[in-house]
């Protein structure tokens, strides 16, 4: 049992199987480690690609969209016609609906939170649009009413039917109503306008029923000017409130989006770090694994060389020498165990046999020499004896000769037999050695079918059996090696394909990230352009403001001009007064002249006519002066009216400037927000670029790994080819020496 164990442990099979098992275990370990690394790496990679990057992209998209929302609101606020308003409202509603689609890409809790905010924002937007719609409709209605009123004024002014109706006053009131923002003032002006419209309407009821109806409709009903103005003001206030609320909601949305983006960036950052650490660890592990694998493979090769190849080579050398008759060939052969040991032992026995044969030969030669000596001695004795016998007995002579001849014949027969035996033994030895040498040389050439099938003489049969056993063990081993190297080749091909796959996936991820980076870059550009747009809008608003201020200056100079006209009129009135006085005096003088002419009688008649003419002239001058006075009075009134109207325009312009200030302020806030958000998007861009480069590096590392695995595969291929060089039929490999012997 113990000897069997010792044989098994020291056998060739065990040694080679051990070496191959070591390599196989190493390969399996490499596969396992590679699979583990691959698994954790690909998990992180998947998380990055499936979760982190889309997360970041959607957060960035939310930021970009919330960035664009205020512009939609600004458009709603700035629309002046129903058409513009409708376009702006549709745009804003579409933007919000698209926002819902973005929200759907978030985890449900965030999505629901976002959707609630969006829903509130949408309500605000719709309310704002509705208020603006009311405001624009009321303003349009008012403008239409004003147009009707001036149309009536143009068609009726100067006609008798319009006598007693002060259209100028009415238009002036309507204009003031259209500009008044103060509720109390509006109430006062509106009531005045209503009463004038009513009285004008009633006055014209009989003569111009259509015009009358128009005038009355401006006073009360759907196109009531005061009502329209009030509606407009209320709607404007409502729109303003809704816009402020919506702006606040957008700001909160933007803050939320910035938070989401920050979270997404942090997640991405930490996952990228993990990935980087993983890839560094993977690199280290793979290098360690490579070194260990190299050492083990080297050890296995050295062990095989030392324990199998070299002893076999030395054995072959010794056998060849032995075949050449050199019995010293086996001197110094190391004592080994296992098949090679057996073979060495058998060869030693063989050599011992040769040595003993030689000794026997020597002995036989020495015996023959001794016998010759004996024979010569005997002949000498015989001659002496003959001499003695011839002297003694003649009869005894014949008998003695007979006996000698018999002894001689016996010796000759024995010598012949011994010579034949020696020759046969030498022939056998030569045959055995030559067969063995031949087989060994075939084995040395890698022929595993070189077993010795011819039976050896009994004393050499053990040698043949040992040789055949060695051969069959070798055949089995080679088959094991062939199988194992096939397996190794398969394993390393698998590793190579797995690593190749990993490399490809990493490359794909790198490509995805590159696309992401490009998309984010685009986003950055759009965010910057949004910020620029906001700034441009702000500039436009400021320009509008400065233009309004310029208009104010013009208004002011107009007022000054009007006042100058008013002053000139006053002066003209005074001059007219003087003219009137002169006319009065002239009239008086003419009267006096007439009285004097009457007193003069007939001779004064001509003078009386002149006096009467002068009086008529004075009267006419006085009338003309009065008329001019009335006209100038009227013009004065008109100028006063103009002054007051221009003043109203001035205050209206003040209001407009205030409104524009408001809008500019809002837009300025928007521009700041847009700037900030564009900055955040830029940060995201940088982060994505960094991530991109890290992944590119990883891809490169994996390509290298892939290349080294390919090297491994090539090595395995070479091993496999080497093993394949061993010839041998399947039967020889499978059938053991025992079955052959049987």
């Amino acid at each position: 049992m113990t000897s069997l164990l010792t044989r098994t442990v020291s056998g060739l099979t065990f040694r080679i199987t051990g070496a191959i098992t070591l390599i196989a275990v190493m390969m399996a370990a490499a596969l396992l480690v590679a699979a583990l690394i691959l698994d954790s790496f690909s998990k992180e990679m998947d998380k990055l690609v499936d979760q982190d990057v889309p997360d970041l992209l959607s957060a960035a998209e939310i930021m970009a969209r919330s960035n664009a929302l205020p512009q939609g609101f600004a458009q709603l606020l700035m629309a002046t016609t129903q058409q513009e308003l409708e376009t702006a409202a549709t745009g804003a509603a579409d933007a919000l609906d698209a926002f819902f689609d973005v929200a759907r890409t978030r985890p449900p809790r965030q999505a629901i939170d976002l959707a609630d905010r969006l829903s509130a924002l949408k309500f605000g937007m719709l309310s704002l649009a509705m208020a603006r719609e009311d405001e624009i409709a009321a303003a349009d209605g008012f403008a239409e009413g004003l147009a009707t009123l001036s149309g009536i004024f143009v068609s009726l002014a100067g006609t008798e039917r319009a006598a007693g109706i002060d259209f100028t006053q009415m238009l002036s009131l309507a204009f003031q109503v259209s500009r008044s923002t103060d509720d109390a003032a509006l109430q006062l002006l509106g009531r005045q306008l209503q009463s004038q419209l009513d009285s004008a309407g009633f006055a014209l009821m009989v003569s111009d029923p259509a015009i009358s109806a128009d005038l009355l409709s401006l006073s009360e009903g759907e196109s009531d000017l005061l009502g329209l103005r009030r509606t407009e003001l209320a709607a404007r206030a409502e729109a303003h409130d809704q816009a402020s609320a919506a702006l606040l909601a957008v700001e909160r949305l933007g803050e939320g989006a910035a938070g989401l983006a920050r979270e997404a960036l942090e997640g991405l950052n930490s996952d990228a770090r993990i990935l980087q650490a993983d890839s560094a660890a993977a690199e280290r592990e793979l290098i360690t694994l490579g070194i260990v694998a190299f050492i083990i493979v080297l050890a296995a090769v050295v062990a095989t060389q030392r324990t199998i190849v070299r002893p076999l080579q030395s054995l072959i050398r010794r056998t060849r020498k032995l075949a050449d008759g050199d019995t010293a060939a086996m001197d110094g052969a190391r004592r080994r165990s296992g098949e090679i040991g057996d073979l060495t032992a058998a060869l030693t026995v063989f050599r011992d046999n040769i040595i003993s044969n030689r000794r026997l030969e020597e002995e036989a030669r020495r015996t023959a020499e001794a016998q010759e000596e004996q024979r010569r001695e005997a002949e000498k004795q015989k001659i002496e004896a003959e001499r003695a016998e011839m002297e003694r007995k003649a009869a005894q002579e014949r008998e003695a000769l007979e006996r000698d001849r018999a002894a001689q014949e016996e010796t000759q027969r024995r010598e012949a037999r011994e010579a034949a035996e020696r020759e046969a033994r030498q022939k056998e030895q030569q045959r055995v050695v030559s067969i063995l040498a031949d087989s060994l040389s075939r084995l040395a050439d890698g022929d595993l079918a070189a077993s010795i099938d011819t039976a050896f003489p009994e004393s050499y049969e053990a040698l043949r059996e040992n040789f055949n056993r060695t051969l069959s063990a070798l055949a089995r081993l080679v088959s094991v090696i062939r199988d194992s190297s096939g397996n190794i080749l398969a394993s390393s091909t698998e590793i190579s394909s797995v690593t190749g796959d990993l490399a490809r996936r990493t490359e794909k991820t790198a490509a995805t990230l590159e696309e992401t980076a490009a998309a984010v870059a685009q986003l950055t550009a759009s965010a910057s352009s949004a910020a620029e747009n906001s700034r441009a809008t702000e500039k436009a608003a400021q320009q509008a403001r400065s233009e309004a201020q310029a208009s104010q200056d013009i208004v002011r100079s107009t007022i000054a001009a009007m006042e100058a006209i008013s002053e000139s009129s006053d002066k003209i009135s005074r001059i007219i007064h003087v003219i009137d006085d002169i006319a009065f005096q002239t009239n008086l003088l003419a009267l006096n002249a007439g009285v004097e002419a009457a007193r003069a009688g007939e001779s004064g008649r001509g003078f009386a006519v002149v006096a009467s003419e002068v009086r008529a002239l004075a009267q006419r001058a006085s009338d003309a002066a009065r008329e001019i006075g009335t006209l100038i009075g009227q013009s004065n009134d008109n100028v006063a009216d103009g002054v007051s109207r221009v003043a109203q325009t001035g205050s209206a312009l003040d209001g407009i400037v205030g409104l524009i200030d408001n809008i500019a302020e809002n837009i300025s806030a928007l521009a700041t927000t847009a700037d900030e958000q564009s900055l955040s998007v830029k940060e995201i861009n940088t982060a994505t670029n960094q991530l991109d480069s890290v992944t590119q590096q990883n891809a490169a590392i994996f390509e290298e790994t892939s290349a080294s695995t390919m090297d491994l595969t090539r090595e395995a291929q070479i091993l496999s080819e080497e093993v394949a060089k061993f010839r041998g039929d399947a039967g020889a490999e499978e059938a053991g020496p025992d079955s052959r012997a049987a």
């Binding site: 509603a93 759907r104 629901i112 309500f123």
Partner: protein, 311 residues
């Protein structure tokens, strides 16, 4: 209180000749949808019961513009009252304004308009309080699991406030001791659809994530989860599945021992309340509340027998 006042209206409305010469116009979102069809039938029946003969019933069949145009036509025809089951909550502002300008009473039913909490005078919304539905459904699940276990939520369309409120009901319950030991395993949007619900639940099951209960925003998605459970060959007895709406198909699934609970949105109750409110507003009753809630009812195999044949 609300219901009590509404019930007090009934005898008045039932007085002979009261409803004579009343014209009521009704617009429905889409009667291809089971629940909407049932609601339309109940409204028609309630109007008939009130003795209103001049009824215009309009099915928008999913077309928003057609619905807005129809309401414009109703207003132009100067009907006595309008009952509107809107397609889009956003249209509420415009519809409310159109009706308010014309002074025509308007009652929204089932779908809450975006201005539901800011309706003008002479308008009401009849529906059910969604904070109840999700609480009834998920509360049942927590009780059945005895406050310990894992659940997965199937959520409706994000654009719909019902989906958001029902899901927020779940979240709110998770913070209470009643559901404190419940973990949310998965959650996702299945947009009210049975197919999408099936696909989502199947993807979770395939990933080895099988919860103790699938909680869906509506019955269709719950039925989708049941489909996924059957397809994966899991033991239904070990998984709770619940929905909302108590549709006919869902109730059949409950009778087959598949669906564990649903919540009845009382179509008949909503129809009756909407008709009552519309007629009261047409009569000039200033006491009609702006918001009229018809209570939800939890339906389980135990309470199944108390239900009418169809909802």
């Amino acid at each position: 209180m609300t219901r009590f006042r509404l019930l007090m209206l009934v005898p008045v409305l039932l007085l002979p000749g009261f409803a004579a010469a009343q014209t009521v116009a009704v617009t429905m979102s889409n009667t291809d949808w089971t629940y909407t069809r049932n609601l339309a039938d109940h409204i028609a029946a309630a109007l008939d019961a009130e003795g209103v003969t001049d009824v215009t019933m309009m099915n928008a069949a999913g077309d928003r513009q057609a619905q807005l145009a129809a309401i414009g036509d109703f207003i132009a025809a100067d009907v006595d009252a309008i009952i509107a089951n809107l397609l889009a909550t956003d249209d509420g502002l415009r519809v409310s304004r159109m009706a308010a300008e014309a002074g025509i009473p308007l009652v929204y039913v089932n779908l809450e308009p975006i201005n539901g909490t800011a309706l003008p005078e002479g308008q009401s919304y009849v529906g059910s309080d969604e904070t109840e539905s999700g609480t009834l459904e998920f509360g049942f699940v927590c009780d059945r699991l005895e406050g310990e276990g894992s659940v997965s939520f199937l959520i409706g369309d994000l654009g719909s406030s019902a989906a958001r409120v029902r899901t927020q009901d779940y979240y709110a319950l998770l913070e209470t001791p009643r559901c404190a030991g419940i973990d949310v395993m998965d959650e996702g949007f299945a947009n009210w659809s049975r197919d999408e619900g099936q696909a989502l639940a199947a993807s979770w099951i395939e990933a080895g994530r099988v919860p103790d209960a699938f909680v869906a925003n509506n019955d269709d998605m719950a039925l989708g989860a049941l489909d996924a459970i059957q397809a994966a060959g899991l033991d239904k007895a070990e998984i709770l599945v619940t929905g909302i709406d108590a549709t006919e198909v869902a109730l059949r699934a409950m009778d087959d021992g598949l669906l564990d609970a649903t919540v009845l949105q009382n179509a008949g109750g909503q129809a009756a309340a909407a008709v009552e409110a519309a007629l009261a507003l047409a009569r000039g009753d200033a006491d009609v509340p702006r918001l009229i809630y018809v209570p939800f009812e939890l339906v389980t195999p135990a309470t199944r027998g108390d239900l009418p044949a169809t909802n």
